[in-house]
């Protein structure tokens, strides 16, 4: 770490880039920290700084709503939806990843068709889904139309991650398993899945967070009852209290917990592999 010793004084570009990075960090975490701090605003405080008489009253307001919206109800829809999207994304991406591993006819076309939904604007997809459901006489709800819309967003990511992971999986592992008398199914169960498991956790993480935070693809597809991002949006227009900040803090904490669980399990698996049991 003694770069300055071996290469002489740091060039001015180092300081320019360091300043740029500092700005980046401020923009990334500044708003989050501001919301976090203001969510502890006291009864005499307002929507802006300074923080007066810190309290937990807005968290209480959030979980025992008098004036705010149906936050717990929205969370009760957003969480199961995100879990459902996560499970389906992992299942479909992993199996599709294996299918694409052995080249089949039309693989390229199917791949680009799947990836194309990444560039369709979310709001357009939302409108299209609603219109189609209306035309077919189906009712939009979080577990039908919103689930489909979210999958159209999470699957391409899941697929791309699996491609990257399976691309690095040497075929010689499967051949070695075959050489040692393993059946196809034994090879998948005992060799392939354990090796790509960290990648599957990454896919799960993406599936969960993409759905949990999704706004545009939820907008018209959730039906009459909102998911959490939509509820927050509604609140910004008609709730003018720091309860909004408390909500922001709670949802961010949920996201962080999910990410920590995912990354933690990847670290544990890799540590186990490099150090032995």
């Amino acid at each position: 770490m003694s770069a300055s010793h071996s290469y002489g004084p740091r060039p001015w570009t180092f300081y320019a880039l360091a300043a740029l990075f500092t700005l980046f960090v401020i923009f990334l975490y500044g708003p989050m920290i501001a919301v976090l701090v203001l969510s502890f605003q006291g009864p005499s405080g307002s929507l802006v700084f300074p923080l007066r008489d810190p309290s937990l009253m807005w968290f209480d307001e959030l979980f025992n709503p008098r004036r705010t919206g149906d936050v717990m109800g929205a969370l009760g829809r957003s969480l199961p939806l995100a879990v459902l999207v996560m499970i389906l994304t992992v299942l479909i991406s992993v199996t599709a990843g294996f299918a694409f591993r052995r080249r089949f006819r039309g693989a390229t076309i199917i791949f680009y068709t799947a990836i194309a939904s990444l560039i369709i604007p979310g709001l357009v997809l939302s409108i299209g889904t609603l219109v189609t459901f209306k035309y077919l006489g189906l009712r939009a709800a979080w577990y039908t139309s919103a689930l489909g819309a979210h999958l159209s967003w999470s699957l391409p990511f899941g697929l791309l991650i699996m491609f990257a992971i399976l691309g690095r999986l040497s075929p010689s592992y499967e051949e070695a398993a075959y050489d040692l008398g393993a059946s196809k199914w034994q090879t998948v169960k005992n060799v392939v899945v354990p090796i790509v498991f960290p990648g599957m956790i990454a896919v799960a993480l993406f599936g969960f967070t993409l759905s949990y935070d999704e706004f545009p693809r939820s907008w018209l597809t959730v039906g009459t009852k909102n998911t959490l991002p939509l509820e927050i949006w509604t609140m910004t227009t008609n709730v003018t209290s720091p309860a909004l900040y408390a909500l922001g803090t709670v949802t961010t904490v949920v996201s962080f917990i999910v990410i920590a669980i995912a990354l933690g399990s990847i670290v544990i698996i890799q540590r186990k592999r490099s150090r032995g049991k």
Binding site: S172, E175, A176, A177, P194, F197
Partner: protein, 392 residues
């Protein structure tokens, strides 16, 4: 390393050893429109150490993979013992393969890697652990049984891969460039271990390599390959000393190849003259007058003298200018520009240092008629030309 004697005992647990003779009959493998190998016929005797030798892309690995069952020939038959094995999985063939990068399962401990075959066959946990431990003890790695593959050195990983292959009790062990991932020191040591292991197990080893010294050091039978076909299959000594084609002579190194036209020679002598005017006489052999012929002369059978020009009427001698000298310890490799080509003489260190020829010096290289070896094919100058400098 004295682990091989005990490893034999492990493999000898099998009932009477079945034959591990490998017969390839008219094997062709096509990938799309290109041929990886074409019409290969080869018999590898039971219990021999066979090296498939050739540059990358010559098809040697494809042959190994077809014997292993990881590739299906487009046409032709693969026989192991008295079984036609095309379409059969490796375990039924009695083969085991050691992969180039060893392909140890990264998520399993060393013990579980070795026990993998037994686990797949439904052997109970206690039994498979104790059998795998026995096998690990035999490669002297039992104290590492709970480690993960990533924690072992290359040489240790290779021994684990060997143990994992041998626990299947194979008739034939297939090794895909097993030494290429090791550093020079370890490579020589593992080379010795492989050889003595094969001696003591008595099963057939087929070893793919692109390194000539490795093949010569190990093999009872060397199969030299050139783009999809076999050029020569013979003992290491024959391959090195009596190559059949210019390609083999050049690829193995250690030979100079000269091409000329057959002329009328003295009784019992074959005489030819190269385009550059060098006259060569061979002590034996015959060829019709006027036909083109290629010969080889071993680099270490060349005498060098510091002389400006060739004496008139000289036979089995040519003049040139030294362009490089390389000290190799027991000998010195002297490269001579003879105008049309490069000619190499490996001169023993004692002879060389009596009168060291330096770069730029003019020398005359000469050899005995008895050392001239006739090649079966005329040098086209094309195949194998890029391997001119291979070997020593």
């Amino acid at each position: 390393m004295n682990n091989t004697a005990t490893m034999k005992a492990a493999a000898a647990g099998a009932p009477a050893q079945e034959s591990g003779e490998i017969r390839l009959v008219g094997i062709t493998k096509q990938f799309g429109n290109s041929y990886a190998v074409r019409d290969i016929n080869l018999t590898i005797p039971h219990g021999s150490y066979c090296c498939l030798l050739g540059p990358s892309g010559c098809g040697k690995t494809t042959i190994l993979r077809m014997i292993a069952g990881h590739e299906t020939p487009t046409s032709g038959e693969v026989w192991i013992g008295d079984q036609m094995v095309v379409g059969k999985p490796p375990v039924e063939r009695g083969t085991a393969m050691m992969f180039q990068s060893y392909a140890l399962f990264p998520h399993l401990s060393i013990l579980d890697n070795v026990a993998f075959y037994l686990k797949m066959r439904g052997v109970g946990k206690e039994e498979r652990r104790s059998r795998a431990e026995d096998m690990l003890r035999r490669v002297q790695l039992d104290h590492f049984k709970d480690r993960m593959p990533a924690q072992l050195s290359g040489g240790q990983q290779q021994r684990v891969a060997l143990a994992r292959s041998l626990i299947t009790n194979p008739k034939v062990l297939l090794l895909d460039e097993p030494l290429s991932a090791l550093d020079e020191f370890l490579r020589l040591r593992m080379r010795g271990e492989l050889k003595s292991l094969q001696n003591e197990l008595g099963i057939t080893f087929v070893h793919v390599t692109h390194t000539q010294p490795e093949a010569i050091a190990l093999a009872d039978m060397v199969v030299v390959m050139d783009t999809g076909r076999i050029d020569q299959a013979d003992t290491a000594n024959m391959i090195f000393d009596k190559p059949e084609t210019p390609y083999v002579a050049r690829f193995m190194g250690g030979q100079n190849v000269l091409t000329g036209t057959v002329e009328k020679g003295a009784a019992g002598r074959l005489r030819l003259k190269t385009a550059a005017g060098t006259v060569i006489e061979a002590a034996s052999g015959s060829a019709p007058e006027g036909s083109p012929l290629s010969i080889s002369v071993r680099r270490d059978r060349i005498d060098l003298a510091r002389k400006e020009t060739l004496p008139a009427g000289a036979v089995n001698a040519l003049a040139g200018r030294v362009v490089a000298t390389e000290y190799q310890g027991s000998y010195v490799k002297v490269t001579i520009d003879i105008g049309s080509d490069l000619f190499v003489a490996n001169v023993s260190d004692s002879a060389y240092f009596k009168d060291p020829a330096d770069v730029g010096d003019h020398v005359v290289a000469s050899w005995q008629a008895e050392t001239v070896h006739l090649l079966r094919k005329v040098d086209s100058g094309e195949t194998g030309a890029s391997y001119l400098e291979g070997g020593h």
